[in-house]
Amino acid sequence: MAAYAGIFDLFGLREWCDAGKTKSLMSLRQLKGEDPAWWEIPFPSLDNLHKACGSIPQTRDFTAWLENGFLAIRPSLRVVLDPLTQPLSWALDGALTLFTTLPWWCLVPIILVGTMLSSKSSRITAFVAACFAFFLFTDHYGYAVQTLSIIFVCTVLCAILGVPTGILMSKNDTAQRVITPVLDMLQTLPTFVYLIPLIFLFKITEPKLYGLAIILYSIVPVIRLTNLGIRLVDRDVIEAANAYGMTARQKLVQVEIPLALPNIMAGINQTIMMSLAMVVIASLVSAPGLGTLVLDGINNLRLGVGFVAGFGIVLLAIILDRVSKAALARVDESRKI
């Protein structure tokens, strides 16, 4: 006799319960005809109630229901999301093609000149040159460039989407109340869990699958820090802007964004770092680059391959961090109060 059967009998629901019931297996105790002791009474969970009354669904029915529900809305979601996210696939494909077809003797100097221009530091440029020399000598250059191009596209998109969202949050307290929990969720969700709904929605071969995963994960800091930066702009300066009759638009463009720029740049730096972390996990869903080597190392227990690729990712992280921090420091320099 199952623990809660008596209750269903009491309310005269036995007939409803047993409708369509198939004979279930009995435990050893039930065969012996022993009832469990009163202190062994289980929590009335779905599975335990199901034992007493066959019409109550089990927990696995519940998860199956979720899955079916998701599958049911999938076609209509795709109609909306597919065209919306298609540009992301194009951008990723385009950047990957561009970066990988440019010969090394063309791309590496471009990167070094870019580094020099944004950091204005020969030490950092020399470091970047040394890192690329390492990639080229160890034949990891192609993978590193793929990873870089993914990060490049995702960071640009994060900035394009994240900065306006942050501005909206700073201007509108309701927007801040609504968006903050979403950001909290995006930040705390285990990174693998991101991939689950995305795998359902898109074909696994589509670049936008990993692109979306990276963007969702790494957009959070740029939104948060833009919001914070604009909220922290010196109130006296805002008052002066008001007192001289600036419009809201003039204030935003000429005062708030320039003064919040150090914070926004710090947000973009964090975004770059987080997209680098995500790009490894995204290799599970066919993101190319150094991440695939790490995955290969784990799957096939090829320790050396995984280790060198991991080291390459660390080098990329240091490069991106130093270059973006140097650019940030130059912004800070001219804005001391």
């Binding site: 006296d236 300066v237 007192a243 001289y244 009759g245 000429q254 320039p258 109060i337």
Partner: protein, 356 residues
């Protein structure tokens, strides 16, 4: 120097400002005469301004003085509606500012009122020249004429050669000169100065006050100046308004307030003042133009301190007082020395003399 014949630029009428959740509900309590602390305790509302009536005359410096928390900064922010009043009227040139929509209000702030701030409030990412050009730039005048105008004022406030510096490269005094140049470049008739010199060192403060007075001699702007420093107020003011706990304790010609404080609060305020330096001959003199003067002429704007020096400390001298070449009265050194005695000691001093 009566204020009656002065043209009123800004008129503030029955202005109230109450901070709290439901400010309008507090107004009846105020008219019942319940006091500020009581209202705050009972309702949690803070009285910012309580029935303010001030006429701000065109072309003069009106100084609003009070200690911190007296509502002076709140009051000046009502003039360009950076703060909205709970009740009351503000008229500029007979035009009701409270009726302005946001577009007209912006136009007012862009063209007719400029402001100088205690903490300078310069844009840190812009050069001195770009900061100075703020007002014309907001109005959309980016031509070379505005640049010339800005350069002119930068030179006028004594910052030649600093046009391309950033604010953080300048000292506090120089930053406030930029703030002043910015306000002057806007070419507005009214200049609001919120504790403009309070953050500066005493010596720099004095030189900024002199600069302001010198500029004012040429420009005749309508200036509203906020300060907590009585010396500064007496030096700059044509019309002095003294605020305490959000209401006006006394207003009028500063020399008049110094000689006739209307209440103990003001007596306390003026008691530490160097009266010899602040009081002018014209405030003390006898209006009799024919009385005998045994030692020549003095100017009516002379301070008592310089007059004592001029008289070599001799108590028996008397002088004919002239203003713009015409005789306006007579002053005796006896009157001068009596005027130096603090208001609250004047009575006891006489008794002591009698006893001695």
């Amino acid at each position: 120097m009566s204020t009656a014949d002065k043209q009123v630029k800004i008129a503030v009428r029955n202005l109230y400002k109450i901070f709290g959740d439901d400010p309008a509900s507090i107004l009846p309590m105020l008219s019942d005469g319940i006091d500020k602390a009581d209202i705050q305790r009972r309702t949690g509302h803070v009285i910012g301004l309580n029935n303010i009536n001030v006429d701000i005359s065109a072309g003069l410096i009106t100084v609003i003085m009070g200690l911190s928390g007296s509502g002076k900064s709140t009051l000046i922010r009502h003039l360009n509606r950076l703060i909205e009043p709970t009740a009351g009227e503000i008229e500029m040139d007979g035009d009701d500012i409270m009726a302005y929509d946001s577009g007209r209000l912006r136009a007012l702030r862009q063209t007719r009122m400029s402001m100088v701030f205690q903490k300078f409030a310069l844009l840190p990412h812009r050069t001195v020249l770009q900061n100075t050009m703020l007002a014309p730039e907001i109005r959309g005048e980016n031509g070379s004429a505005s640049t010339e105008e800005a350069v002119k004022w930068i030179h006028r406030v004594g910052l030649e050669g600093c046009e391309d510096s950033f604010p953080h490269q300048l000292s506090g005094g120089m930053q406030q000169r930029v703030g002043l140049a910015r306000a002057l470049t806007s070419n507005a008739e009214v200049m609001l100065m919120d504790e403009a010199f309070s953050a500066l060192d005493p010596l720099i403060r004095t030189s900024m006050q002199d600069l302001l007075l010198e500029l004012q001699q040429d420009l005749h702007k309508t200036i509203v100046f906020i300060t907590h420093d009585l010396d500064e107020a007496l030096k700059l003011a044509d019309h002095l308004v003294i605020l305490k706990d959000g209401f006006i304790v006394q207003q009028g010609e500063p020399q008049h307030i110094l000689l006739n404080p209307s209440d103990p609060y003001i007596e306390e305020f003026v008691s530490d003042i160097n009266r010899a330096r602040v009081l002018k001959v014209r405030s003390i003199m006898d209006g009799n133009r024919r009385a005998k003067a045994n030692h020549g002429e003095v100017d009516s704007g002379m301070s008592l301190e310089s007059l004592i020096a001029h008289a070599e400390g001799d108590i028996d001298r008397s002088f004919a007082v002239h203003d713009d070449g015409a005789r306006v009265g007579t002053i005796t050194m006896k009157a001068v020395f009596k005027a130096l005695v603090r208001y609250d000691l004047a009575g006891t001093g006489r008794t002591n003399n009698g006893a001695g």
